[in-house]
């Protein structure tokens, strides 16, 4: 059975190769680049700035990387769901709570869909949200500090995939479950999946001032797989759309068993209606267990709180809140155009692209034209809601973005291309190959009412032969296209880190202006901060030793420490006294079962060291900070567990 499927896909690919859409050959691309001055279009001269920021998810790296467009230069990796030895994120005492979950400390995550906060349907550049697929979580990253400030775990969810898209005023960030599971979790036979498993769609409210997240309610849906989602906007603001697959509710060999139905659904959820229901006391609190982790910029410290209940809503208790729109065939992407009228459901096994009409949907609902129901949820007629079909545009349609000029761009995984088509006429205007197996694509501002349609970049799963080889594994590639003209123009290939699952991008201006350069020492409220050399000290508390240490170019204070014993738990609390942009100091001590720390100006970070051997051990600054960086070092003396060497420390004078 599997073989038949694979070979038929292969046949289709061959057919497509014969039946047209000559994609142009790639070797011609190079001479084209020279003759068309393409290089100039991506060249950002030394000292000049890129025009756009791109926040590219790292997929299995668990993080986000920050890129500039059009240069494709990587500026930074922001640790989100994975420990990051470069800065000590997830290793330092302050950031360990960020990775706390109801399953304990989870050092890794699978980050998928970043989305930038919006006000009135436009990107406002305050935060980026991103979901974690494996241990369902949502993170909020500040675009002032470019640090992860908050992570909330999502209970009753499994495979947090249709996430983390925001509504047009960032009222909610949504977290739909890819895998349906028993709710609440319990021991039961897997074969009894059908009718017993459920899928939770979580609506997480975002506080307008602080950005703080809170699960307002979860809609407990039938046991399908909720794959991707997009908020309504403009006229459809107040609705959220989720693609589903496995409406068969199979639990084994899904490749075949979940591909039987000719049509799956897009679930249309009227969240405003459910919000009103909840505000009037609707839904019920259900016992739950999930972590809420919050980082405080002033104490430089995260705290983790375990929450014990969540509000759940049964959709049939809120009539008119949820409908199913039949969509062929195992739809993956679910994309809403800038006007909010069109909902594109890309059936990844369908030869055509299906576009639904929001107006027609409302009309059908009003006239109660239903084809039936599933678990009490009305199913609309496919034809009643259909706006149009893009015929045979390619193979394996995945994701669609919009340029704000009436065009849509869809990626095709199997035929490895991006196809540009016109909204309303549904005709294909242009197509360009990608190298290779493209997943998502991004247009800056794409998931908003105001796309900034100058650039588009496609994110590929395979890179072979595009760069110098680096062994069996290569970094994935992204490809930047100029979409300002009628035809897309390939400008640049650039490698990305991890899996470039999806990205959010916007013009640089707002973010660049608000970017923070230092932490003010005066605002440092870390309980173990030493704000000047006079505050430095070493304090013993049982077998814990707390070292209040400062760094400034080019010394540690203190730099000689004695009286530590084998078996002690030594906390280095290091405060960077610098108040100058881009002058971090590092800290590492020999034999530490931990990472280094990288401490930003005005910041305090703590690292635990548990010495197991007597000796005099060096510590040093790991970030080349000045002409005398190499001299930025110190010693810590470790005595036997039963020794009576008292605690002593010094800087610049001998220890008495």
């Amino acid at each position: 059975m599997k073989n038949i499927l694979t070979s038929s896909i292969a046949m289709l690919v061959i057919l497509l190769g014969f039946t047209g859409c000559n994609n142009g050959n790639q070797s011609g691309g190079k001479s084209g680049a020279l003759s068309n001055n393409i290089a100039e279009k991506v060249y950002v001269a030394p000292g000049e700035y890129d025009s756009h920021y791109a926040f590219i998810s790292g997929g299995y790296s668990g993080n986000i990387t920050v890129y500039g467009l059009p240069s494709g230069r990587m500026f930074k990796e922001i640790p989100v769901f994975s420990q990051f030895a470069t800065s000590g994120y997830g290793y330092s005492e302050e950031t360990k709570p960020m990775l706390n979950t109801s399953h304990g400390f989870v050092p890794w995550g699978d980050s998928h869909h970043p989305d930038i906060s919006q006000s009135k349907g436009e990107l406002d550049g305050r935060w980026v949200f991103i979901n974690e697929n494996n241990t369902p979580r949502i993170a909020r990253i500040s675009l002032t500090t470019f640090e992860t400030e908050e992570i909330i775990e999502v209970p009753n969810s499994a495979g947090n995939h249709s996430s983390s898209f925001v509504t047009e005023n960032t009222e909610y960030v949504v977290a739909g479950t890819r895998f349906s599971v028993p709710i609440p979790q319990r021991d039961m036979p897997i074969k009894d999946y059908k009718g017993n498993f459920q899928g939770a769609l979580s609506f997480i409210s975002v506080a307008p001032e602080t950005g703080n997240m809170d699960i307002k309610f979860q809609v407990l849906m039938p046991g399908f797989n909720y794959d991707l989602s997009h908020p309504g906007r403009g006229k459809s603001h107040g609705w959220f759309f989720f693609t589903t697959y496995n409406t068969e509710e199979a639990s084994t060999l899904l490749e075949v068993n979940a591909s039987q139905n000719d049509k799956d659904f897009i679930a249309a959820v009227n969240w405003k209606k459910i919000e009103e229901y909840v505000n009037n006391g609707g839904g019920k609190m259900m016992p739950a267990n999930y972590a809420h982790n919050l980082y405080d910029e002033h104490t430089h410290t995260a705290t983790s709180t375990i929450k014990k209940e969540v509000r759940v809503v049964n959709p049939i208790d809120v009539p008119g809140a949820v409908y199913f729109i039949p969509t062929p065939k195992s739809p993956h992407g679910c994309d809403v155009d800038p006007s909010g009228e069109y909902i594109v459901g890309n059936g990844k096994l369908s030869a055509n692209l299906t576009v639904h009409s929001f107006t027609k949907m409302l009309d059908a609902i009003e006239k109660e034209k239903f084809a039936g129901e599933a678990y009490g949820i009305p199913i609309l007629n496919f034809e009643d809601v259909l706006a149009g079909v893009v015929e045979q545009p390619g193979l394996g349609p995945l994701h669609t973005e919009f340029d704000g000029k009436g065009n849509a761009y869809t990626t095709f995984f199997i035929s490895s291309e991006v196809v540009k088509w016109k909204i309303g006429t549904w005709e294909v205007i242009d197509r360009k190959p990608t190298y290779y197996s493209v997943g998502h694509l991004t247009i800056p501002g794409g998931n908003s009412g105001k796309p900034q349609g100058k650039y588009m970049f496609a994110m590929n799963k395979i890179t072979k032969d595009r760069y110098l080889p680096t062994g069996p594994e290569m970094e994935h590639s992204a490809q930047l296209y100029d979409i300002s003209g009628d035809k897309m123009e390939l400008l640049l290939d650039f490698p990305t880190h991890g899996e470039p699952h999806y990205a959010a991008a916007m013009e640089a201006s707002i973010i660049k202006e608000q970017s923070q350069k230092i932490y003010k020492l005066a605002d440092n409220k870390h309980p173990y901060a030493a704000k000047s050399d006079a505050d430095t000290k070493v304090v013993r508390d049982g077998n814990e030793v707390h070292i209040y240490m400062t760094t400034i170019r080019s010394h540690f204070s203190p730099d000689n420490i004695e009286g530590v014993k084998v078996g002690d738990k030594v906390y280095f609390h290091v405060t960077n006294l610098e108040q100058d942009f881009d002058v971090p100091h590092g800290f590492a001590v020999l034999g530490q079962n931990n990472s280094e720390l990288l401490i930003m100006p005005g910041q305090t970070k703590s690292s635990v060291w548990e010495p197991k051997q007597v000796g005099v051990w060096p510590f040093y600054c790991t970030d080349f900070c000045s002409a005398l960086h190499q001299e930025m070092q110190g010693y810590i003396r470790v005595s036997a567990a039963d020794s009576d060497v008292p605690i002593k420390w010094s800087l610049g004078e001998d220890i008495e």
Partner: protein, 205 residues
């Protein structure tokens, strides 16, 4: 004479701008400081152009053994200068008023100008001495010692006025808003003198 006296009063009052705006500004730019570091010299103390500039200048200067930038209470000038400026402004206003009432002659305007010029030159002389001490009086334990071709230790004295290259830094020293207001004010008093003379000569003829 009435017009001249009013100009005299305005000119003297312009000195008061020094209580709000800096007299002088020194900027230090270098490749690694695309946003240059800077200090503004006010009559009552030295302030950084940006919040942490002084701390960062001190941080850099410690390599070559320069002293830290003095706090207001560490220099007598910063308590005396405000009094001198206030005194001169008051004196100018009084002379202007008396001139308006024809109690004193226009020659007092010139007298004020000469006195102010002398004080100004003394101030500049004092400022230059401070710069020389700041740039030349180095810690013998300095980490980096740079010598001139003749073997003498290099001085890091910023220019009194204008531009100078100090190691990798481009140092520019120029009057600032308060200073310009003072110069304009002083030239007003000179104009007042000239106008006063013209009207009195006219009267005589």
């Amino acid at each position: 004479m009435k017009k001249a006296s009013i100009i005299m009063i305005i000119g003297s009052l312009l000195l008061l701008g020094l209580f709000k705006f800096p007299l002088w500004n020194i900027m230090l730019g270098a490749p690694q400081y695309p946003d240059p570091l800077g200090m503004n010299i006010h009559i009552d103390g030295i302030k950084g152009v940006s919040e942490f500039d002084l701390q960062n200048i001190d941080g850099l200067n410690h390599y070559i053994g320069m002293k830290t930038i003095p706090k207001a209470e560490e220099m007598w000038e910063f308590s005396v200068f405000p009094k001198v400026i206030l005194g001169m402004a008051l004196l100018g206003v009084i002379i202007g008023l008396l001139g308006y009432l024809n109690k004193v002659s226009y020659k007092y305007f010139l007298g004020w100008f000469v006195l102010m010029s002398v004080l100004g030159i003394l101030g500049m002389y004092d400022f230059n001495n401070w710069l020389a001490d700041y740039g030349g009086n180095l810690d013998p334990h300095a980490i980096i010692k740079v010598t001139n071709p003749d073997g003498s230790p290099m001085s890091y004295k910023p220019p009194l006025i204008g531009f100078k290259k100090l190691l990798n830094f481009d140092v520019t020293s120029l009057p600032h808003t308060g200073g310009y207001l003072m110069f304009i004010g002083m030239s007003f008093t000179l104009i007042a003198f000239w106008l006063g003379r013209k009207t009195s000569v006219k009267k005589i003829t």
